[in-house]
Assembly symmetry: C2
Amino acid sequence: MEKVADVQCFGGQQQRFKHVSLVLNCDMHFSLFLPPQAKNAKVPVLVWLSGLTCTDENFVTKAGAQRVAAELGIALLAPDTSPRGEGVADDEAYDAGMGAGFYVNATQAPWAEHYQMYDYIVQELPALLAREVQALDLKRMSIMGHSMGGHGALVIGLRNVDTYQSISAFAPICAPSQCPWGEKTLGYYLGQDRSTWQDYDASVLLASAKKSIPIRVDQGLADNFLTTQLMPEKLIAAAPQNYPLQVLQHKGYDHSYFFIASFIEAHIRFHAEFLNQ
Amino acid sequence: MEKVADVQCFGGQQQRFKHVSLVLNCDMHFSLFLPPQAKNAKVPVLVWLSGLTCTDENFVTKAGAQRVAAELGIALLAPDTSPRGEGVADDEAYDAGMGAGFYVNATQAPWAEHYQMYDYIVQELPALLAREVQALDLKRMSIMGHSMGGHGALVIGLRNVDTYQSISAFAPICAPSQCPWGEKTLGYYLGQDRSTWQDYDASVLLASAKKSIPIRVDQGLADNFLTTQLMPEKLIAAAPQNYPLQVLQHKGYDHSYFFIASFIEAHIRFHAEFLNQ
Protein backbone atom coordinates (compact mmCIF):
# COMPACT_ATOMS: atom_id res chain seq x y z
CA MET A 1 0.00 0.00 0.00
CA GLU A 2 1.54 3.29 -1.18
CA LYS A 3 0.49 6.74 -0.03
CA VAL A 4 0.12 8.93 -3.12
CA ALA A 5 -1.32 12.08 -1.50
CA ASP A 6 -1.56 13.53 2.01
CA VAL A 7 -3.03 17.01 2.45
CA GLN A 8 -4.10 18.77 5.63
CA CYS A 9 -7.82 19.55 5.79
CA PHE A 10 -9.87 20.80 8.76
CA GLY A 11 -7.02 19.85 11.07
CA GLY A 12 -7.00 16.26 9.82
CA GLN A 13 -5.35 14.58 6.84
CA GLN A 14 -6.96 13.85 3.48
CA GLN A 15 -4.97 10.96 2.10
CA ARG A 16 -4.98 8.83 -1.05
CA PHE A 17 -3.49 5.35 -1.39
CA LYS A 18 -2.64 2.94 -4.18
CA HIS A 19 -2.50 -0.79 -3.58
CA VAL A 20 -2.66 -4.14 -5.32
CA SER A 21 -6.07 -5.76 -4.89
CA LEU A 22 -5.95 -9.53 -4.94
CA VAL A 23 -9.74 -9.73 -4.96
CA LEU A 24 -10.11 -7.41 -7.96
CA ASN A 25 -6.91 -8.60 -9.61
CA CYS A 26 -5.70 -5.07 -10.41
CA ASP A 27 -4.19 -1.92 -8.90
CA MET A 28 -6.69 0.21 -6.97
CA HIS A 29 -6.84 3.67 -5.40
CA PHE A 30 -8.84 4.73 -2.38
CA SER A 31 -9.14 7.95 -0.35
CA LEU A 32 -9.09 8.21 3.43
CA PHE A 33 -9.76 11.21 5.64
CA LEU A 34 -8.26 10.96 9.11
CA PRO A 35 -9.80 13.43 11.56
CA PRO A 36 -7.51 15.28 13.99
CA GLN A 37 -8.57 12.91 16.80
CA ALA A 38 -6.77 10.07 14.96
CA LYS A 39 -3.45 11.47 16.18
CA ASN A 40 -4.26 10.36 19.73
CA ALA A 41 -6.90 7.64 19.57
CA LYS A 42 -8.49 5.04 17.37
CA VAL A 43 -11.39 6.52 15.39
CA PRO A 44 -14.45 4.85 13.83
CA VAL A 45 -14.77 4.53 10.05
CA LEU A 46 -17.60 5.77 7.86
CA VAL A 47 -17.46 4.25 4.37
CA TRP A 48 -18.70 6.26 1.37
CA LEU A 49 -19.66 4.39 -1.82
CA SER A 50 -19.88 6.59 -4.90
CA GLY A 51 -22.23 6.49 -7.85
CA LEU A 52 -21.86 5.75 -11.55
CA THR A 53 -18.83 7.29 -13.31
CA CYS A 54 -17.15 8.35 -10.06
CA THR A 55 -13.73 7.49 -8.72
CA ASP A 56 -12.67 7.67 -5.08
CA GLU A 57 -12.06 11.41 -5.50
CA ASN A 58 -15.48 12.90 -6.32
CA PHE A 59 -16.79 12.65 -2.77
CA VAL A 60 -13.52 13.91 -1.32
CA THR A 61 -13.49 17.10 -3.38
CA LYS A 62 -17.21 17.88 -3.69
CA ALA A 63 -19.21 16.76 -0.65
CA GLY A 64 -17.71 18.98 2.04
CA ALA A 65 -17.80 16.05 4.46
CA GLN A 66 -14.44 16.56 6.17
CA ARG A 67 -15.65 19.48 8.31
CA VAL A 68 -18.17 17.48 10.32
CA ALA A 69 -16.05 14.32 10.31
CA ALA A 70 -13.23 16.38 11.85
CA GLU A 71 -15.59 17.77 14.46
CA LEU A 72 -16.96 14.35 15.41
CA GLY A 73 -13.74 12.35 15.13
CA ILE A 74 -14.79 9.99 12.34
CA ALA A 75 -12.59 8.70 9.51
CA LEU A 76 -14.07 8.77 5.99
CA LEU A 77 -13.15 5.93 3.63
CA ALA A 78 -13.94 6.45 -0.07
CA PRO A 79 -13.16 3.46 -2.33
CA ASP A 80 -13.27 3.52 -6.12
CA THR A 81 -16.43 2.32 -7.91
CA SER A 82 -14.93 -0.52 -9.95
CA PRO A 83 -11.74 -2.31 -10.88
CA ARG A 84 -9.58 -0.28 -13.29
CA GLY A 85 -6.78 -0.64 -15.77
CA GLU A 86 -5.76 -2.26 -19.03
CA GLY A 87 -7.21 -5.72 -19.37
CA VAL A 88 -10.24 -4.93 -17.19
CA ALA A 89 -13.47 -5.56 -19.13
CA ASP A 90 -15.41 -2.42 -19.96
CA ASP A 91 -18.58 -1.23 -21.66
CA GLU A 92 -19.04 1.74 -23.97
CA ALA A 93 -21.87 3.11 -21.82
CA TYR A 94 -21.39 4.88 -18.50
CA ASP A 95 -23.64 2.47 -16.60
CA ALA A 96 -21.61 -0.74 -16.91
CA GLY A 97 -17.93 -1.65 -16.75
CA MET A 98 -15.35 0.72 -15.32
CA GLY A 99 -16.90 3.28 -12.99
CA ALA A 100 -19.93 1.04 -12.61
CA GLY A 101 -19.02 -1.98 -10.49
CA PHE A 102 -22.41 -1.99 -8.76
CA TYR A 103 -20.78 -3.46 -5.62
CA VAL A 104 -21.49 -7.06 -6.68
CA ASN A 105 -19.37 -10.17 -7.19
CA ALA A 106 -19.66 -10.90 -10.91
CA THR A 107 -20.10 -14.51 -12.00
CA GLN A 108 -20.20 -14.05 -15.78
CA ALA A 109 -17.43 -13.70 -18.39
CA PRO A 110 -15.77 -11.34 -19.13
CA TRP A 111 -16.65 -9.58 -15.88
CA ALA A 112 -15.91 -12.19 -13.21
CA GLU A 113 -12.12 -11.90 -13.58
CA HIS A 114 -12.06 -8.42 -11.97
CA TYR A 115 -15.55 -7.26 -10.94
CA GLN A 116 -15.69 -8.49 -7.32
CA MET A 117 -16.52 -5.19 -5.68
CA TYR A 118 -18.72 -6.70 -2.95
CA ASP A 119 -15.85 -8.76 -1.53
CA TYR A 120 -13.43 -5.86 -2.03
CA ILE A 121 -15.56 -3.48 0.08
CA VAL A 122 -16.71 -5.99 2.70
CA GLN A 123 -13.51 -7.96 3.19
CA GLU A 124 -10.29 -6.97 1.44
CA LEU A 125 -10.26 -3.22 2.03
CA PRO A 126 -11.16 -3.31 5.76
CA ALA A 127 -8.60 -6.09 6.31
CA LEU A 128 -5.93 -4.04 4.52
CA LEU A 129 -6.73 -0.97 6.62
CA ALA A 130 -6.73 -2.99 9.84
CA ARG A 131 -3.16 -4.04 9.03
CA GLU A 132 -1.88 -0.73 7.66
CA VAL A 133 -3.58 2.15 9.50
CA GLN A 134 -3.34 1.83 13.25
CA ALA A 135 -5.56 4.87 13.90
CA LEU A 136 -8.69 3.13 12.59
CA ASP A 137 -11.09 1.20 14.81
CA LEU A 138 -12.63 -1.13 12.23
CA LYS A 139 -14.96 -2.64 14.81
CA ARG A 140 -16.87 0.65 14.66
CA MET A 141 -17.89 1.04 11.02
CA SER A 142 -20.92 2.45 9.20
CA ILE A 143 -21.67 2.79 5.50
CA MET A 144 -23.30 5.33 3.21
CA GLY A 145 -23.41 6.15 -0.49
CA HIS A 146 -25.04 7.90 -3.43
CA SER A 147 -27.14 6.45 -6.25
CA MET A 148 -25.34 3.21 -7.30
CA GLY A 149 -23.32 3.72 -4.11
CA GLY A 150 -26.53 4.14 -2.11
CA HIS A 151 -27.60 0.77 -3.47
CA GLY A 152 -24.19 -0.58 -2.47
CA ALA A 153 -24.43 0.83 1.04
CA LEU A 154 -27.93 -0.60 1.58
CA VAL A 155 -27.03 -4.03 0.21
CA ILE A 156 -23.70 -4.30 2.02
CA GLY A 157 -25.12 -2.97 5.29
CA LEU A 158 -28.22 -5.18 5.22
CA ARG A 159 -26.11 -8.29 4.51
CA ASN A 160 -23.60 -7.47 7.25
CA VAL A 161 -25.60 -6.10 10.15
CA ASP A 162 -22.97 -7.17 12.65
CA THR A 163 -20.18 -5.35 10.78
CA TYR A 164 -21.84 -1.97 10.24
CA GLN A 165 -23.56 0.12 12.92
CA SER A 166 -25.80 2.12 10.57
CA ILE A 167 -26.58 2.73 6.89
CA SER A 168 -27.48 5.85 4.97
CA ALA A 169 -28.02 6.68 1.33
CA PHE A 170 -28.56 9.66 -0.94
CA ALA A 171 -30.91 8.90 -3.83
CA PRO A 172 -30.13 5.17 -3.83
CA ILE A 173 -31.15 2.66 -6.48
CA CYS A 174 -33.63 0.92 -4.18
CA ALA A 175 -34.75 -1.97 -6.37
CA PRO A 176 -32.08 -2.71 -8.99
CA SER A 177 -33.89 -5.86 -10.15
CA GLN A 178 -36.69 -3.64 -11.40
CA CYS A 179 -34.98 -0.64 -13.02
CA PRO A 180 -33.08 -0.20 -16.32
CA TRP A 181 -29.67 0.45 -14.72
CA GLY A 182 -29.92 -2.69 -12.61
CA GLU A 183 -31.51 -4.88 -15.26
CA LYS A 184 -28.76 -4.13 -17.73
CA THR A 185 -25.77 -4.37 -15.46
CA LEU A 186 -26.87 -7.12 -13.08
CA GLY A 187 -27.63 -9.03 -16.29
CA TYR A 188 -24.05 -8.47 -17.45
CA TYR A 189 -22.39 -9.31 -14.14
CA LEU A 190 -24.71 -12.04 -12.76
CA GLY A 191 -26.38 -13.41 -15.88
CA GLN A 192 -30.02 -13.67 -16.84
CA ASP A 193 -31.15 -15.94 -13.97
CA ARG A 194 -32.78 -13.20 -11.93
CA SER A 195 -32.89 -15.30 -8.77
CA THR A 196 -29.16 -14.54 -8.45
CA TRP A 197 -29.94 -10.80 -8.37
CA GLN A 198 -31.89 -10.98 -5.14
CA ASP A 199 -28.83 -10.84 -2.90
CA TYR A 200 -28.04 -7.47 -4.42
CA ASP A 201 -31.49 -5.88 -4.24
CA ALA A 202 -31.98 -3.71 -1.15
CA SER A 203 -35.78 -3.94 -1.26
CA VAL A 204 -35.65 -7.74 -1.36
CA LEU A 205 -33.09 -7.85 1.44
CA LEU A 206 -35.00 -5.40 3.62
CA ALA A 207 -38.25 -7.36 3.23
CA SER A 208 -36.61 -10.44 4.73
CA ALA A 209 -34.42 -8.65 7.29
CA LYS A 210 -34.02 -10.73 10.46
CA LYS A 211 -32.11 -8.13 12.43
CA SER A 212 -32.54 -4.36 12.35
CA ILE A 213 -29.88 -1.84 11.41
CA PRO A 214 -30.79 1.87 11.45
CA ILE A 215 -31.21 3.29 7.93
CA ARG A 216 -31.58 6.87 6.74
CA VAL A 217 -32.36 7.70 3.09
CA ASP A 218 -32.57 11.20 1.60
CA GLN A 219 -34.16 11.73 -1.80
CA GLY A 220 -34.51 14.91 -3.87
CA LEU A 221 -37.87 15.30 -5.55
CA ALA A 222 -36.39 17.13 -8.58
CA ASP A 223 -34.12 14.15 -9.25
CA ASN A 224 -34.40 13.09 -12.93
CA PHE A 225 -33.85 9.44 -12.03
CA LEU A 226 -36.40 9.27 -9.22
CA THR A 227 -39.24 7.36 -10.87
CA THR A 228 -37.33 5.33 -13.47
CA GLN A 229 -34.20 4.21 -11.63
CA LEU A 230 -34.36 4.93 -7.88
CA MET A 231 -37.89 4.08 -6.66
CA PRO A 232 -37.62 4.70 -2.91
CA GLU A 233 -41.28 3.69 -2.61
CA LYS A 234 -40.21 0.09 -3.11
CA LEU A 235 -37.83 0.31 -0.17
CA ILE A 236 -40.52 1.86 2.03
CA ALA A 237 -43.01 -0.84 1.01
CA ALA A 238 -40.49 -3.59 1.72
CA ALA A 239 -39.63 -2.49 5.25
CA PRO A 240 -40.95 -4.78 8.02
CA GLN A 241 -43.26 -3.08 10.50
CA ASN A 242 -41.42 -0.87 13.00
CA TYR A 243 -38.16 -1.21 11.07
CA PRO A 244 -35.83 1.76 11.86
CA LEU A 245 -35.97 3.17 8.32
CA GLN A 246 -36.44 6.88 7.71
CA VAL A 247 -36.85 8.19 4.16
CA LEU A 248 -36.66 11.98 3.91
CA GLN A 249 -37.89 13.62 0.72
CA HIS A 250 -36.65 17.08 -0.28
CA LYS A 251 -38.52 19.34 -2.65
CA GLY A 252 -36.41 20.95 -5.36
CA TYR A 253 -33.20 18.92 -4.97
CA ASP A 254 -31.72 16.99 -7.89
CA HIS A 255 -29.26 14.07 -8.18
CA SER A 256 -26.06 16.13 -7.96
CA TYR A 257 -23.33 16.70 -5.41
CA PHE A 258 -25.07 19.98 -4.53
CA PHE A 259 -27.80 17.79 -3.01
CA ILE A 260 -25.25 15.60 -1.23
CA ALA A 261 -23.36 18.63 0.14
CA SER A 262 -26.63 20.07 1.47
CA PHE A 263 -27.37 17.02 3.64
CA ILE A 264 -24.00 15.35 4.29
CA GLU A 265 -23.78 16.95 7.73
CA ALA A 266 -27.09 15.36 8.75
CA HIS A 267 -25.88 11.96 7.51
CA ILE A 268 -22.59 12.09 9.38
CA ARG A 269 -24.36 13.18 12.58
CA PHE A 270 -26.84 10.29 12.10
CA HIS A 271 -23.98 7.79 11.89
CA ALA A 272 -22.10 9.41 14.77
CA GLU A 273 -24.94 8.47 17.11
CA PHE A 274 -24.15 4.81 16.50
CA LEU A 275 -20.39 5.01 15.85
CA ASN A 276 -19.49 7.04 18.92
CA GLN A 277 -21.42 4.93 21.43
CA MET B 1 -27.61 36.63 -20.42
CA GLU B 2 -28.65 32.96 -20.55
CA LYS B 3 -29.09 30.70 -17.54
CA VAL B 4 -27.34 27.41 -18.31
CA ALA B 5 -27.71 25.71 -14.91
CA ASP B 6 -29.86 26.14 -11.82
CA VAL B 7 -29.57 23.59 -9.01
CA GLN B 8 -30.91 23.75 -5.48
CA CYS B 9 -28.23 23.79 -2.80
CA PHE B 10 -28.59 24.45 0.95
CA GLY B 11 -32.05 25.86 0.32
CA GLY B 12 -30.72 28.38 -2.21
CA GLN B 13 -29.94 28.13 -5.92
CA GLN B 14 -26.56 27.45 -7.49
CA GLN B 15 -26.81 28.98 -10.94
CA ARG B 16 -24.55 29.34 -13.98
CA PHE B 17 -24.93 31.94 -16.73
CA LYS B 18 -23.52 32.55 -20.19
CA HIS B 19 -23.34 36.04 -21.63
CA VAL B 20 -21.61 38.15 -24.27
CA SER B 21 -18.94 40.34 -22.70
CA LEU B 22 -18.36 43.56 -24.62
CA VAL B 23 -15.35 44.36 -22.46
CA LEU B 24 -13.67 41.01 -23.08
CA ASN B 25 -14.98 40.70 -26.61
CA CYS B 26 -16.06 37.07 -26.20
CA ASP B 27 -18.67 34.80 -24.61
CA MET B 28 -18.22 34.30 -20.87
CA HIS B 29 -19.63 32.08 -18.12
CA PHE B 30 -20.01 32.91 -14.47
CA SER B 31 -21.56 31.15 -11.46
CA LEU B 32 -23.89 32.69 -8.91
CA PHE B 33 -25.19 31.25 -5.66
CA LEU B 34 -28.39 32.85 -4.42
CA PRO B 35 -29.06 32.12 -0.74
CA PRO B 36 -32.62 31.30 0.35
CA GLN B 37 -33.05 34.85 1.68
CA ALA B 38 -32.90 36.13 -1.93
CA LYS B 39 -36.47 34.92 -2.46
CA ASN B 40 -37.77 37.68 -0.20
CA ALA B 41 -35.13 40.41 0.00
CA LYS B 42 -32.11 41.89 -1.72
CA VAL B 43 -28.93 40.19 -0.57
CA PRO B 44 -25.31 41.41 -0.56
CA VAL B 45 -22.76 39.97 -2.97
CA LEU B 46 -19.44 38.35 -2.12
CA VAL B 47 -17.21 38.00 -5.20
CA TRP B 48 -14.78 35.07 -5.46
CA LEU B 49 -11.83 35.32 -7.85
CA SER B 50 -10.19 32.00 -8.65
CA GLY B 51 -6.57 31.11 -9.22
CA LEU B 52 -4.53 29.95 -12.20
CA THR B 53 -6.13 27.27 -14.41
CA CYS B 54 -9.55 27.60 -12.79
CA THR B 55 -12.90 28.38 -14.38
CA ASP B 56 -15.94 29.78 -12.56
CA GLU B 57 -16.78 26.23 -11.44
CA ASN B 58 -13.86 25.13 -9.23
CA PHE B 59 -14.91 27.25 -6.26
CA VAL B 60 -18.55 26.28 -6.67
CA THR B 61 -17.89 22.55 -6.53
CA LYS B 62 -14.93 22.36 -4.14
CA ALA B 63 -14.97 25.10 -1.49
CA GLY B 64 -18.14 24.19 0.39
CA ALA B 65 -19.00 27.88 0.64
CA GLN B 66 -22.73 27.68 -0.01
CA ARG B 67 -23.57 26.36 3.47
CA VAL B 68 -22.44 29.47 5.35
CA ALA B 69 -23.57 31.84 2.58
CA ALA B 70 -27.05 30.30 2.88
CA GLU B 71 -26.99 30.73 6.64
CA LEU B 72 -25.91 34.38 6.46
CA GLY B 73 -27.92 35.43 3.41
CA ILE B 74 -25.02 36.33 1.11
CA ALA B 75 -24.85 35.73 -2.66
CA LEU B 76 -21.61 34.26 -4.03
CA LEU B 77 -20.44 35.45 -7.45
CA ALA B 78 -17.70 33.40 -9.13
CA PRO B 79 -16.46 34.78 -12.47
CA ASP B 80 -14.13 32.97 -14.85
CA THR B 81 -10.39 33.70 -14.68
CA SER B 82 -9.86 34.94 -18.25
CA PRO B 83 -11.50 35.50 -21.61
CA ARG B 84 -12.10 32.25 -23.49
CA GLY B 85 -12.77 30.90 -26.94
CA GLU B 86 -11.33 30.59 -30.44
CA GLY B 87 -9.42 33.68 -31.43
CA VAL B 88 -8.49 34.53 -27.83
CA ALA B 89 -4.71 34.73 -27.47
CA ASP B 90 -3.19 31.95 -25.37
CA ASP B 91 0.09 30.66 -24.03
CA GLU B 92 1.32 27.08 -23.84
CA ALA B 93 2.02 27.40 -20.11
CA TYR B 94 -0.64 27.35 -17.42
CA ASP B 95 0.43 30.72 -15.98
CA ALA B 96 -0.45 33.01 -18.89
CA GLY B 97 -3.28 33.23 -21.42
CA MET B 98 -6.54 31.40 -20.92
CA GLY B 99 -7.16 30.56 -17.27
CA ALA B 100 -4.62 33.20 -16.26
CA GLY B 101 -6.09 36.65 -16.87
CA PHE B 102 -4.46 38.06 -13.73
CA TYR B 103 -7.35 40.53 -13.35
CA VAL B 104 -5.56 43.26 -15.31
CA ASN B 105 -6.39 45.37 -18.38
CA ALA B 106 -3.83 44.28 -20.97
CA THR B 107 -2.22 46.97 -23.11
CA GLN B 108 0.03 44.81 -25.28
CA ALA B 109 -0.65 42.81 -28.45
CA PRO B 110 -1.90 40.13 -28.82
CA TRP B 111 -3.46 40.28 -25.35
CA ALA B 112 -5.18 43.67 -25.29
CA GLU B 113 -7.99 42.61 -27.64
CA HIS B 114 -9.57 40.35 -25.00
CA TYR B 115 -7.64 40.43 -21.71
CA GLN B 116 -9.47 43.23 -19.86
CA MET B 117 -10.36 41.28 -16.73
CA TYR B 118 -10.02 44.25 -14.36
CA ASP B 119 -12.77 46.20 -16.12
CA TYR B 120 -14.84 43.05 -16.51
CA ILE B 121 -14.84 42.34 -12.76
CA VAL B 122 -15.07 45.95 -11.56
CA GLN B 123 -17.55 47.34 -14.07
CA GLU B 124 -19.20 45.12 -16.65
CA LEU B 125 -20.20 42.14 -14.52
CA PRO B 126 -21.71 44.12 -11.60
CA ALA B 127 -23.58 46.35 -14.09
CA LEU B 128 -24.93 43.28 -15.87
CA LEU B 129 -26.09 41.75 -12.59
CA ALA B 130 -27.67 45.02 -11.45
CA ARG B 131 -29.82 44.92 -14.59
CA GLU B 132 -30.57 41.20 -14.68
CA VAL B 133 -30.80 39.86 -11.11
CA GLN B 134 -33.16 41.86 -8.97
CA ALA B 135 -32.33 39.93 -5.80
CA LEU B 136 -28.81 41.33 -5.60
CA ASP B 137 -27.92 44.47 -3.64
CA LEU B 138 -24.77 45.53 -5.50
CA LYS B 139 -24.23 48.45 -3.15
CA ARG B 140 -23.18 45.84 -0.55
CA MET B 141 -20.29 43.98 -2.13
CA SER B 142 -17.07 42.42 -0.84
CA ILE B 143 -14.35 40.51 -2.64
CA MET B 144 -12.11 37.52 -1.97
CA GLY B 145 -9.98 35.07 -3.91
CA HIS B 146 -7.24 32.46 -4.03
CA SER B 147 -3.65 32.74 -5.28
CA MET B 148 -3.90 34.73 -8.58
CA GLY B 149 -7.46 35.47 -7.47
CA GLY B 150 -6.23 36.59 -4.06
CA HIS B 151 -3.99 39.05 -5.90
CA GLY B 152 -7.04 40.11 -7.92
CA ALA B 153 -9.19 40.59 -4.82
CA LEU B 154 -6.51 42.67 -3.06
CA VAL B 155 -5.84 44.85 -6.12
CA ILE B 156 -9.47 45.37 -7.03
CA GLY B 157 -10.55 45.98 -3.45
CA LEU B 158 -7.68 48.39 -2.70
CA ARG B 159 -8.39 50.40 -5.86
CA ASN B 160 -12.13 50.54 -5.20
CA VAL B 161 -12.53 51.07 -1.47
CA ASP B 162 -15.92 52.72 -1.92
CA THR B 163 -17.28 49.79 -3.93
CA TYR B 164 -16.23 46.91 -1.70
CA GLN B 165 -16.81 46.64 2.05
CA SER B 166 -14.00 44.18 2.78
CA ILE B 167 -11.29 42.05 1.15
CA SER B 168 -9.99 38.59 1.92
CA ALA B 169 -7.55 36.26 0.28
CA PHE B 170 -6.25 32.71 0.53
CA ALA B 171 -2.56 32.40 -0.33
CA PRO B 172 -2.55 35.51 -2.55
CA ILE B 173 0.25 36.60 -4.84
CA CYS B 174 1.13 39.61 -2.70
CA ALA B 175 3.80 41.28 -4.83
CA PRO B 176 3.39 40.22 -8.47
CA SER B 177 6.04 42.71 -9.63
CA GLN B 178 8.61 40.69 -7.72
CA CYS B 179 7.71 37.03 -8.37
CA PRO B 180 8.13 34.78 -11.43
CA TRP B 181 4.37 34.38 -12.12
CA GLY B 182 3.85 38.13 -12.10
CA GLU B 183 7.04 39.06 -13.90
CA LYS B 184 6.24 36.76 -16.78
CA THR B 185 2.59 37.54 -17.21
CA LEU B 186 2.47 41.23 -16.31
CA GLY B 187 5.31 41.50 -18.83
CA TYR B 188 3.11 39.85 -21.45
CA TYR B 189 -0.02 41.87 -20.68
CA LEU B 190 1.43 45.26 -19.71
CA GLY B 191 4.84 45.29 -21.37
CA GLN B 192 8.31 45.67 -19.95
CA ASP B 193 7.86 49.16 -18.49
CA ARG B 194 7.48 48.05 -14.90
CA SER B 195 6.04 51.36 -13.77
CA THR B 196 2.78 50.22 -15.42
CA TRP B 197 2.72 47.16 -13.16
CA GLN B 198 2.36 49.17 -9.97
CA ASP B 199 -1.41 49.59 -10.28
CA TYR B 200 -1.69 45.80 -10.14
CA ASP B 201 0.63 45.11 -7.22
CA ALA B 202 -1.18 44.78 -3.90
CA SER B 203 1.89 45.57 -1.82
CA VAL B 204 2.50 48.79 -3.75
CA LEU B 205 -1.16 49.77 -3.52
CA LEU B 206 -1.36 49.01 0.20
CA ALA B 207 1.75 51.08 0.96
CA SER B 208 0.08 54.17 -0.49
CA ALA B 209 -3.47 53.46 0.71
CA LYS B 210 -5.32 56.69 1.57
CA LYS B 211 -8.43 55.01 2.93
CA SER B 212 -8.67 51.78 4.91
CA ILE B 213 -10.64 48.70 3.91
CA PRO B 214 -10.57 45.66 6.21
CA ILE B 215 -8.38 42.85 4.85
CA ARG B 216 -7.99 39.25 5.99
CA VAL B 217 -5.35 36.96 4.48
CA ASP B 218 -4.88 33.26 5.27
CA GLN B 219 -1.72 31.45 4.26
CA GLY B 220 -0.74 27.81 4.64
CA LEU B 221 2.83 27.25 5.74
CA ALA B 222 3.17 24.00 3.74
CA ASP B 223 2.29 25.87 0.54
CA ASN B 224 4.86 25.09 -2.18
CA PHE B 225 4.52 28.58 -3.64
CA LEU B 226 4.90 30.50 -0.37
CA THR B 227 8.44 31.85 -0.67
CA THR B 228 8.83 32.04 -4.44
CA GLN B 229 5.47 33.36 -5.63
CA LEU B 230 3.24 34.52 -2.76
CA MET B 231 5.43 36.45 -0.28
CA PRO B 232 2.87 37.63 2.29
CA GLU B 233 5.75 39.27 4.21
CA LYS B 234 5.81 41.96 1.51
CA LEU B 235 2.13 42.76 2.12
CA ILE B 236 2.69 42.92 5.87
CA ALA B 237 5.71 45.19 5.42
CA ALA B 238 3.78 47.49 3.08
CA ALA B 239 0.79 48.05 5.38
CA PRO B 240 0.57 51.55 6.89
CA GLN B 241 0.63 51.65 10.68
CA ASN B 242 -2.68 50.61 12.25
CA TYR B 243 -4.03 49.44 8.89
CA PRO B 244 -6.83 46.83 9.44
CA LEU B 245 -4.86 43.96 7.88
CA GLN B 246 -4.77 40.54 9.50
CA VAL B 247 -2.53 37.80 8.08
CA LEU B 248 -3.18 34.37 9.58
CA GLN B 249 -0.61 31.65 9.02
CA HIS B 250 -1.56 27.98 9.27
CA LYS B 251 0.93 25.22 9.92
CA GLY B 252 0.62 22.19 7.65
CA TYR B 253 -1.79 23.58 5.04
CA ASP B 254 -0.89 23.64 1.35
CA HIS B 255 -2.15 25.61 -1.68
CA SER B 256 -5.15 23.39 -2.48
CA TYR B 257 -8.91 23.63 -2.17
CA PHE B 258 -8.61 21.51 1.00
CA PHE B 259 -7.00 24.59 2.56
CA ILE B 260 -9.69 26.88 1.17
CA ALA B 261 -12.50 24.58 2.36
CA SER B 262 -10.98 24.51 5.84
CA PHE B 263 -11.17 28.30 6.26
CA ILE B 264 -13.91 29.48 3.89
CA GLU B 265 -16.41 29.67 6.75
CA ALA B 266 -14.15 32.10 8.63
CA HIS B 267 -13.78 34.25 5.51
CA ILE B 268 -17.49 34.47 4.83
CA ARG B 269 -18.20 35.34 8.48
CA PHE B 270 -15.48 38.02 8.27
CA HIS B 271 -17.17 39.60 5.24
CA ALA B 272 -20.64 39.24 6.76
CA GLU B 273 -19.64 41.63 9.54
CA PHE B 274 -19.28 44.38 6.93
CA LEU B 275 -21.89 43.26 4.39
CA ASN B 276 -24.76 42.79 6.78
CA GLN B 277 -24.40 46.10 8.61
